[in-house]
Amino acid sequence: MRDRLTRLLGTALVAGGLALGAGAARAETSLEFYYPVAVGGPITKIVDGMVADFEKGHPDIKVKPIYAGSYQDTITKVLTAIKGGDVPQLSVILSVDMFTLIDEDAIVPYESLVKTEADKAWLKGFYPAFMENSQTGGKTWGIPFQRSTVVMYWNKEAFKEAGLDPETPPQTWDELVAFGKKLTKKDASGNVTRWGVQIPSSGFPYWLFQALTTQNDVRLMNGDGTETHFDDPKVVEALQYWVDLSRKWQIHAPGIVEWGTTPKDFFEGKTAIMWTTTGNLTNVRKNAPFPFGVAMLPEHARRGTPTGGGNFYIFKKSTPEQKAAALTFIEWMTSPERAAQWGIETGYVAVSPAAWETPEMKAYVKDFPPAAVARDQLQYAFAELSTHDNQRVTKALNDGLQAALTGAKTPAEAMKDSQAEAKRILRAYQ
């Protein structure tokens, strides 16, 4: 999920370009829209195209997308701009940064902007799983836009070779272990040439770990973002399972598995099953040299995955006209037709049930059924880990997870330490 690329928009609009009056009777509203990608790449072209379409239908609103780098870079840029007194009107930022943005007093809730019945209906039109990360204290702070979940990809050729039915992915934790044992292949000298399964653990292991905890039917935090439950016995059990995959069952590469190169390992047959974001769907479809399948993650106490990705936020220091224009733009970008187009072109999960009812989306799913797996899994999804001071709390969990995976600590110890650290950080918000 996280980092996304892009390209900057051609011209330096800036101060001078703010179409001062221009003698026209109708005033134009200008919006600066920070979007988390670096310059270039296919995604900027899609965004530019959508903005151009929007402006055609709304001649009185000018939107200037500013491609601001990764999600981390974007929130840094936004917060710096706000403190420096130079604010964008809207931005796409990680859904989990909601509490941070609220604490900085940077954003406004959508309830303060929606007026008409149509607006209110639109606000209710999204998948509830995505809204979990967008609402707190009875208010909506973010609108889902580019959202994803974790899914399982499997190599049908490897399944056949191991004597498994290539059309049946593992359905439970136990099956994953049983299948994994058959799929793990060693050469004559005992070195593993293919692992059964790979769950990446670099960068943001908490996100994939949350798939395991959700399947074990336990939440990592409360809805107010003030409390974490890292040392819950069920959380420890989930971590024990992850550690056991490599340590006990030896069907998973030991130590930390790199997120960025996991798809490559999958293409090269170094792992038969991988867990990764739906955002990789297009990449896998283009590059896998063998037939592959996409499935929901296996269940334990229940099915489960966290959601991930970015939301639209509207910033407080804008004029009322700008806020209204920003709302119009966001409503347009998340309308069923646009959400469907966005999902088809990028691989993100279209954010509203209505988007899946559009003819384009139906045709796409018919042509490529794996696209619907993420949607069907949404009913089992929990909100991604998000608290006040989110970056530090998440780091506390990540450190614990990696300590357990590398064997530096037992799962119980690691989670106890992570919980103590998170509790210390969150004390200020109790």
């Binding site: 999920m1 996280r2 980092d3 996304r4 690329l5 892009t6 390209r7 900057l8 928009l9 051609g10 011209t11 330096a12 609009l13 800036v14 101060a15 990608v37 670096a38 310059v39 270039g40 790449g41 500013i66 601001a68 780098g69 990764s70 870079d73 840094t76 840029k77 710096t80 701009a81 403190k83 420096g84 007194g85 130079d86 960068g203 997120w259 960025g260 190169t261 798809p263 490559k264 090269e268 974001t277 955002g279 990789n280 297009t282 990449n283 896998v284 590059n287 691989g347």
Partner: protein, 279 residues
Amino acid sequence: MSALVPAAEGEGAAGRLLETAGAWLLGLVWALPLVYALWTAFHPSAYSARFDLLAPLTLENFVRAWAAAPFARYFLNSFLLVTSILAVQLVLSTLAAFAFARFSFRGRDLLFALVLVQLMVMPDVLIVENYRTLRWLGLIDSVLGIGLPYMASAFAIFLLRQTFKTVPRELDEAARVEGCSYLRLLWKVYVPLARPTYVAFGLVSVSYHWNNFLWPLIVTNSVTTRPVTVGLSVFASTDQGIDWSVITAATLLSTAPLLLAFLLFQRQFVQSFMRAGIR
């Protein structure tokens, strides 16, 4: 070495061998990422994690990297940025260092202490304050805006002052007796003698600003102002999977000017660093 007693000579040879081996080892460790980048960039992506001497060579990665973003413009921006910063830095700090080194005036030591304090402050701490100032000046999203906060370099002032202080007073006085003005004295006597320091500082400054990422990202919004490092982040898309071949090709492209310059002027750089005492 000559001061050692003869019996120690055997040990000296062994010590030298050890030193040489150590230097090679460190050199190899340092060069490894570069070697990997070279290997990966010139081969199809199927070979990015596999070593095969007979793997086919290709330039396609460079073509793809070049096409992924407007790199030509980024290179121009980076070039304008580092040259403008360096030019202003050299002029300002030469004058300031000369004043600190050769004139006595009231408050000189206090002022110099302030310059030294600036050395201790990480520029990242000042991001918000700098942003505010630049916005007030209307320089957000301009190449000048990226460079301005760095143009008065405390490091350069300090370095040049120390160098100027080592210039023999006799030279200075002889020139003055001949009727040389202060500016001419600076230009004819001090600057030529400080040449190694200028080269060394120039290298440090150029490589720092060529590689700087966070600040340029924050103050710029458009293709016409962003430097090559920001353009490079196009390839940091962990979401769609990482293609090492293109990343390494793009990295080589963006570091090539610096690497080439270093290789060409290597001898001068090394000598300058030794003389200027920066290591």
